[in-house]
């Protein structure tokens, strides 16, 4: 208890710095993967992607980031062993942030793919096992989380596959694909708004003190969906047949209809990414804040302070604006193999899966889910060529990131313990 009272402010400051740095890193490196399918299909420019990401990452973090943050903050560690030594949790969370942040920096500078989620979870488990005890880890929760890391890309792929099949059936494989695209387009846009709103607002937003019944949630989601569908309808109507392009590729005009639709899925993806990944930075921060402000209570029953969410969202946006721009430029705005209709399916599938995970408080890797979604589209024979070696690199990053995060965090933990006692 004394350590907290003596060094409380120092811990708070450090936590804020490390947490913000982590969020900055997420914005700088991870957002490119979230916006990749939207930019790569040529539907939005890099500049538009930055603006969309800035607005919706923040919105996602603020509105829907609470559940995953709660998991990272108090779901992984059992508080009982450290009841009398709350400072251990502080050291640990600081260590985890530092470890994950540094690993992120190292890996990004070398162009290695790294999952921010895996880094922080690995770090937290690592310091807990080393510094507190293997039993202090909530292995049930960890099993759930790891299971979600395997299930979520598969889910993303399945949803993408089904979306592709539906688009083929309703739009592409018909007499008048262009007209059917205009007819069904708004329905697909409705889907985007409806799903994201429903999952986010289901039974209310606790941290904003907004209570909603199941029925109200549905109604509200439908309303949001309809509003967005109306905007989508207005944009889709403006699309005209391009005769010259159609001569080269019969479906050129149909694909053009999907371009405004991708605007909405890009927003959804940014929202989803913000909702899940902000926790990687502010989860540990929130843990430290709670302990310091309660003078040493480990149970963390207090609600998540709003300013922490705001800080996290802002950190992501700043990271995006400063370095994310450069990373996104390397994506290449015209990956011709990724047509708007494919991009739509992959992005919506990924966004849905991530937002579902965020709602259930499960920290997942947005990148891995996006990869799963693209493979789902490929399985529907929708993409010319997908290099499966990317799966190898993902598995490698699992094998490397989890232990490195854990070991680094354990090291820093003992360092802090040594410094502060």
């Amino acid at each position: 208890m004394d350590i907290i009272t003596v060094y409380g402010t120092a811990f708070l400051v450090m936590a804020i710095i490390f947490g913000t740095y982590m969020c900055w890193g997420i914005g700088a490196n991870d957002v490119a993967n979230a916006m990749g399918t939207s930019v790569g299909s040529g539907a939005i420019t890099v500049m538009q992607a930055i603006i969309i990401a800035a607005i919706f990452e923040f919105a996602g973090a603020f509105l829907a980031g609470g559940h995953v943050t709660a998991t990272i903050r108090k779901g992984i560690i059992d508080p009982t062993p450290i009841m009398n030594n709350p400072e251990l949790l502080v050291y640990g969370m600081l260590a985890a942030l530092l470890a994950a942040g540094i690993w992120l920096m190292i890996a990004s500078s070398r162009g290695w793919p790294v999952s921010t989620t895996h880094s922080i979870v690995g770090a937290i488990v690592g310091f807990t096992m080393a510094g507190i005890g293997v039993d202090a880890v909530q292995w049930g929760k960890i099993t759930q989380i790891v299971a979600s890391w395997v299930v979520s890309p598969v889910l993303g792929g399945t949803i993408a596959f089904l979306l592709m099949i539906s688009i083929r059936k309703l739009i592409l494989n018909t007499d008048k694909p262009f007209l059917n695209a205009k007819k069904w387009g708004p329905a697909y846009v409705f889907l985007v708004g409806f799903i994201i709103s429903l999952v986010t607002m289901f039974k209310g937003l606790k941290h904003l003190k907004l209570e909603l019944s199941v029925g109200m949630s549905f109604v509200l989601a439908v309303v949001v969906g309809l509003i967005i569908a109306a905007i989508g309808w207005a944009l889709i109507n403006k699309v005209k047949v391009d005769e010259t392009a159609d001569r080269d590729f019969h479906f050129a005009s149909v694909e053009k209809v999907f371009t405004p639709m991708m605007l909405f899925t890009a927003c959804a993806m940014a929202f989803a990414h913000g909702s899940n990944d902000v926790a990687n930075g502010i989860g540990p921060l929130a843990a430290v804040v709670s302990i310091v402000q309660t003078g040493g209570e480990v149970a963390q029953k207090a609600a998540l302070p709003i300013w922490v969410l705001l800080l996290g969202g802002a950190g992501i946006v700043v990271g995006l604006a400063t370095m994310g721009y450069r990373v996104m430029k390397t994506i290449g705005t015209k990956i011709t193999e990724l047509t708007p209709s494919r991009g739509y399916c992959a992005t919506l599938a990924a966004a849905t899966t991530v937002v579902l995970a965020s709602r259930t408080g499960l920290p997942v890797s947005t990148t891995h889910i996006a990869v799963g979604a693209v493979i789902g589209v490929g399985l529907a024979r929708g993409v010319g060529a997908i290099d499966l070696r990317v799966i190898g690199s993902i598995v490698l990053s699992w094998i490397v990131t989890l232990p490195i995060g854990g070991v680094l965090a354990a090291l820093f933990f003992f360092t802090f313990k040594g410094i502060f006692g």
């Binding site: 590729f249 290449g332 209709s341 993409v383 290099d387």
Partner: protein, 226 residues
């Protein structure tokens, strides 16, 4: 792993586009064969030589694309089409250009005069064989539409119809080839024996242009099999 995002490194150049590009160059090669025979019949040696050069150049360009495509098809690629099917189509397409090169090359090395009775039917055969190649290239152009539709549905049915037309035209060239051969053998007594054999070889090769083109179309039937 490239510096750009993990996700985007998944996307590779579509082999279907490369296949289409290759076919376009092969067609440029094949379209020079009728003018080649016109020059031969007219006895215009300079024109013949320049067209023969063009054919050789196009064939080399086709080879380049073929090699690039092969290099860009690692086994780790996941595609809507079987890798082997793609490589087979590529090989068949390339054989069309190779055959055109063989024809031009032989006529260059052993200048021969077209016997009078064979002139008209030969021109007819050459043109009809190039028609077969044309139809085949139209079918290959449909590959991106097929991809859009997942190699099923209306587009697949449309392509099947195009392959039916392809088969019909190729049958015609078979008839024309047989007719031409018959005429050749009818006057073999009046010709240099070696020339007879060379002309027979050339008629076969001209027919091969259509044969390979038809095989390309048949492979596409395999891809769209529902």
């Amino acid at each position: 792993m490239s510096k750009s995002s993990t996700l985007m490194s998944m996307f590779r150049r579509s082999p279907l586009k490369s296949l289409q590009e290759h076919m376009r160059v092969v067609m440029e090669c094949v379209r020079e064969v009728p003018p080649l025979f016109d020059a031969l019949i007219d006895g215009d040696k300079e024109k013949f030589a320049s067209i023969k050069d063009k054919i050789f150049q196009h064939e080399a360009a086709a080879d380049k694309i073929k090699n690039e495509m092969r290099a860009g098809l690692p086994k780790s690629l996941f595609m809507p089409v079987d890798r082997r099917d793609l490589l087979e189509i590529l090989q068949l397409q390339d054989s069309i250009a190779d055959t055109a090169q063989d024809i031009a090359g032989l006529l260059m090395e052993r200048p021969m005069e077209v016997p009078e009775t064979l002139k008209e039917p030969m021109v007819k055969l050459v043109r009809r064989c190039v028609d077969v190649c044309d139809q085949s290239s139209k079918i290959i152009e449909e590959l991106d539409e097929l991809l859009e539709m997942g190699f099923r549905g209306r587009e697949a049915s449309q392509v099947e119809e195009m392959v039916d037309v392809l088969n019909r035209i190729e049958d015609e060239t078979d008839e024309l080839g047989i007719d031409l051969t018959r005429r050749l053998f009818a006057q073999e007594e009046d010709m240099n024996p070696v020339s007879v054999i060379m002309w027979y070889r050339l008629i076969q090769w001209i027919g091969d242009l259509a044969d390979y083109a038809e095989k390309v179309g048949d492979r596409l039937r395999l891809l769209t099999a529902q």
